[in-house]
Every structure is written in C-alpha cells, then in structure tokens.
C-alpha cells in the first residue's frame, strides 16, 4: 500500500502538527530535520508529508495528489471546499473579524462602505449575509493600514490578540467566525482508504481531547 500523503501548511501550523503527530506516537525525526528533501517520511513508512503554502495545500487535496492536509479554516473559507473537512485540530486559533477606526460609527451614514481585506471572498459572504452593499478592495498585506490611509472604512481580517488593531486605533466591530487548523481529506481518498484515515483521525482527536483536558486542569 502506498503511504498516506499529507500536506502541511508551512510554518506555525506545521510545528503544531508535528507536536500532535509525536503525541500519537508517529516518528517525525525526518520531518523535523528535513534537509533538502521535499517528500518526508513520517512514522514507519505509513505516511509521508509535504510542506506547502496554505492555498497550495488546498490545491493538492482538491486535485488528489495528497490524501490529507492540515490547513487553517481561513484558507478553507477563502478558497472553497471541494474536499472533506473531518477534524478541528484546535490549534492555530484566531478569528475573522470586522474592524474599523475606534472613533468611528461604522454603520452610520448612507454611503456604501469600502472594505479592505486579504480575504475578499470571506468579506463578500459576510456582508451578503447582512444584506449590506459594500465595496471590497483586495489588499495583500498590512490590511490595518487601509483605514488609516483613508482607502477603506473598515477591514475584514484575522484577529488573534487584537493588539495590532489597538495600536493602530482600530477596534473589532463584529466577530465573523472562529478559525483554527483543520484536517482535510480528498474525497476519493476517504472513500478508498477509510480505515487508515479514520484510525488516524480518531487518534488525533483523542490526543486533542486529552490536551484540552490538561489545559483545563
């Protein structure tokens, strides 16, 4: 049997995933010390990992070149979901929020608001659900700058602690949704390799529950 191939989002989510894998007893030594290899064996050859940027993880899973992936809910929301999202891994937690200058009443006035965001899809759906007519401007980075420069009335962005917002005179107006890392699975893979994938997901879920209990203590 081919190893199950999992795509991990590079960076913080990758580190957290490795921690979780080790907790369920998977050998991640090569994954931690990868050198120049691009496809990295995990455990005793039952799995292999590749590292990719978040949006590429989704592409790999949708196209079926990887069986599973670990990716943030933010990326899933923005890039659609033609795959199975089977487990909330409970790390990489943050939220999508609508923020605007603290001293401004965002909803006041009749003019249609301008919204800057790295996530135009998420922003669009949010305002659609409120039946609000807005103009969305796609920004690639430092979204907080847009209202300060007068480009936008508000922003839709990922908020973790809110300190960047505060420092720039912005405040959260409304939470949109909670975000965390998710385990996603290609639809054909789940059908064809159900026992292996379910066993893995089961172990991960148990480890996550344990961890949460420990935190509560």
């Amino acid at each position: 049997m081919k190893p199950l191939r999992i795509a991990l989002t590079k960076g913080r989510l990758e580190k957290k995933t490795v921690e979780l894998f080790e907790e369920i007893g998977l050998d991640c030594s090569i994954l931690k010390d990868k050198g120049r290899r691009l496809i990295l064996p995990v455990g005793n050859g039952e799995m292999e990992a590749v590292l990719a940027k978040a949006a590429d993880v989704i592409t790999y899973i949708e196209r079926g070149v990887c069986d599973m992936g670990v990716v943030g809910k933010d990326t899933i929301m923005e890039n659609g979901s033609r795959f199975y999202e089977i487990l909330d891994l409970k790390f990489g937690k943050c939220k999508f929020a609508l923020a605007a200058p603290r001293d401004m009443d965002f909803y006041a006035g009749y003019h249609s608001k301008k919204i800057a965001s790295k996530y135009p899809g998420v922003a669009k759906r949010f305002f659609e659900s409120k039946a609000m007519d807005v103009e969305i401007i796609k920004i690639e980075g430092s979204v907080e700058l847009a209202p300060l420069l007068g480009l936008a009335d508000g922003i839709v962005d990922i908020v973790e602690t809110g300190s960047t917002l505060r420092e720039n005179g912005l405040a959260v107006i409304e939470d949109i949704t909670d975000i965390s890392a998710r385990l996603i699975v290609n639809s054909a893979s789940l059908k064809l390799r159900k026992p292996e994938i379910e066993a893995l997901a089961g172990k991960l879920e148990a480890a996550i529950v344990n961890k949460e209990k420990e935190i509560k203590k």
Partner: protein
C-alpha cells in the same frame, strides 16, 4: 447492445432549462450568450437536464422504458489556473420511465461494467437521497439552514455539524443527523442506520437499500461497494439511490449517478428516471498513464503503393481494416521514404502493393 439508443442534445440551450429552482446549475458556471431575439442561451453545461426536457416533451407517447446513452462534451466556466478543463468529455446513460429494483440494478451494473472494462480497479459507493431528506424534513428549519446542513454533511465536517445542530430541539433527529457523515461502510451500516429511522418511509428505504446491496454482493462487485448514507450530492434533483465511483489514481469521482423521479415533471409530464455520467477525460487519462490506449492496437502496418496500383492498394486496405487490422497508406513514392516515415511514427510492419502484394516486418534498426 443492451437496448440503449444514442441521444444528441443541442450544443446551445436556453438558459432557462438550467435555471429551474431546486435543480439549477450555478449561474456563474455557465457560458452565456444571447440569440438573435435577445434571449439568453448557454453552451450545454450538463446532459441530463436537456435529456429530461426532451424526454418530457417528446417521449411521452413512446413505450417505456426508454433507454438512452450520450457521449458529448459539456462546458463549465471553472476558476482559472486550477488545472480543471472548461470543456469536459462525458458519457452516460439514462433509463427513463422505469422504477424499482430492476432499473436501479441495471444502472449500477452498467456503471460498474463501464469501469471494469476501462480502468479495472475502482470503488463504487451507493447512498440514498431519501435518508437525509426525510430526516431534515422532520425539522422546522429554514431553507437556508437546511442547505447549511447539507453542505456540512457533504463535506463530512463533523465539527461544524455539531454547531449547527446545537439549537435544534428534536433530539432523536439531531442524533441521527449527527451520525450521518459516519454512516458509511459495508452491510453493517444498515443495522446502525435502522436505529435512526424517523419513520416507516425511511425504514422501507433502508430495507430496499439492503436488498439492493445483497443483490450486488452476489456479483464480482462484492468488494467494490461501499454504502454511504451520508451521501448528499450537490445536485438536488436526486430522489432515490445515488452512486459515485472512485479510483486511486484520480482525486474526484470518475462516475456519478442516481435516481431522479421528479426532474422530468419540472419540464412537463413526469416520468421516473435513473442515470449516470462518466468523466471520460479522467478515464482516458488513467488508461493512458498506465500505458494503455493507442498502444493497445497491436500491429500497425504501413502500406507502400507502387505507381499505378493506388486503387488496388485501397481495396486491399479495405479488406484488412474489415478484418480489424490497423493499416495506413503511405503517400511516398520511394519505399525508402516510407520506411523512414514508419520508423519515426513507430510502425513495424510494411506491406508493398504492386503487381503482387508482399508483407514484411521492419526491424528497429532500419532508419
């Protein structure tokens, strides 16, 4: 050979055919233009809807069942740079005007046969649209909420599903829906599902699925079938069994099908129906990657024609082709050039037609 007639549907259709509430194809996925009266038309985005329209309008007075097959391209506007083609080759069948076990079995067996003869290994999953519909039908929830439930079950998103169900009172149904994404596997699934039956109608459906499963287990399909009662497909028009096929080498279903008894009624007179469509592009790609396809045609022959024997050569070739051989006429005057051409395109047999007809093998070293 099994009583199916080929159907060709128009390449351009009225937009309205695909915009019927409940069965529509997403607006943004269709290529649209207008006809000379300013009416909106689309490039055929799907084959089943046009066939349903045609059947309800024109086949009402025919003896049922009517069995149809198609092989034609469909056009969908997909996002750029995703490696997904906007023009997709599809083949499929529809059995119109027949209901029940025999028609369902025929469609599934035919689907399986199609895949056995092309790619060999595959998994066929079978579900039933009724299970979800009946469960959700018992809940007092909005259309929007219902759609949310459907998509979370479709994506097997257990976490989001729990969240959606939190405020719903009816505990028995909630428990059943919560279980739905996990209700897939072998025969044992039926037993589990029985515990969550909301009514007699659903119980009958489960019994029917079990019978169907038992029948299929008697065939070579035994190890290829998975039951998935959480199968809730994007196409809302399914009303009974639904099925999809998967293979290791392709990241999506290579075949989708199901029963759609109410669809024809939306175009006029109603008629029960079942059908499936195959992703021909995917199958071709898989077969080719395995080194099958064209190279499976064993012996190719190049036919060199001596001056003045052109008609005779074509007569000889007609005879060969009639016997199922692959042969190709050379357009070159000099036999050397014919040999060179043959070596470049990979033909290893030469026939020379002149006063007499001679045939010989060409070595690889003859360049």
């Amino acid at each position: 050979m099994r009583g199916y007639n080929e159907v060709l549907t128009p390449g351009v259709e009225y937009y309205d055919v695909f915009g019927i509430p409940g069965v529509s194809i997403p607006q943004q996925e269709m290529y649209k233009t207008t006809d000379n009266n300013g009416r909106l038309i689309v490039f055929r985005p799907d084959s089943t809807l046009p066939i349903a329209r045609m059947a309800s309008a024109r086949l009402q007075n025919f003896q049922k069942p009517v069995r149809l097959f198609y092989r034609q391209n469909v056009y969908r506007n997909t996002p750029d740079h995703t490696g997904v083609s906007n023009e997709a080759a599809q083949m499929g069948i529809e059995i119109l005007g027949a209901q029940g076990l025999r028609a369902d079995l025929e469609a599934i067996m035919l689907a399986a046969d199609t895949l056995t003869k092309t790619i060999g290994d595959f998994r066929l999953e079978i579900g039933n649209a009724v299970f979800f519909q009946n469960l959700v039908g018992k809940l007092q929830i909005s259309e929007e909420r219902r759609e949310q439930l459907r998509t979370t079950i479709e994506s097997k998103n257990y976490a989001a599903l729990s969240g959606l169900l939190e405020n719903i009172q009816d505990q028995k149904i909630v428990e059943a829906i919560r279980k739905l994404p996990r209700l897939f596997g072998g025969e044992e699934i039926f037993k589990e599902a029985e515990r969550y039956c909301p009514d007699g109608d659903t119980a009958d459906m489960l019994l029917y699925m079990k019978t169907l499963y038992r029948h299929l287990s008697e065939t070579a399909l035994k190890d290829r079938i998975i039951v998935d009662l959480g199968l809730v497909q994007r196409n809302d028009y399914y009303t009974g069994i639904i099925f999809s096929a998967y293979t290791q080498e392709y990241g999506a279903a290579v075949l989708n099908g199901g029963r759609y008894d109410t669809l024809l009624g939306k175009f006029g007179d109603s008629m029960p129906a079942i059908g499936f469509s195959v992703d021909t592009d995917a199958l071709t790609a898989i077969v080719r990657r395995r080194g099958g396809g064209e190279s499976r045609i064993r012996k190719k022959t190049i036919v060199h024609i001596m001056p003045g024997y052109e008609i005779k050569a074509h007569r000889v070739m007609d005879e060969m082709v009639g016997k199922g051989r692959y042969c190709e006429a050379s357009v070159f005057d000099a036999v050397d050039k014919t040999r060179r051409y043959a070596s470049v395109v990979g033909i290893h047999r030469l026939m020379v037609v002149g006063e007499s007809v001679t045939e010989m093998e060409l070595g690889d070293d003859e360049t």
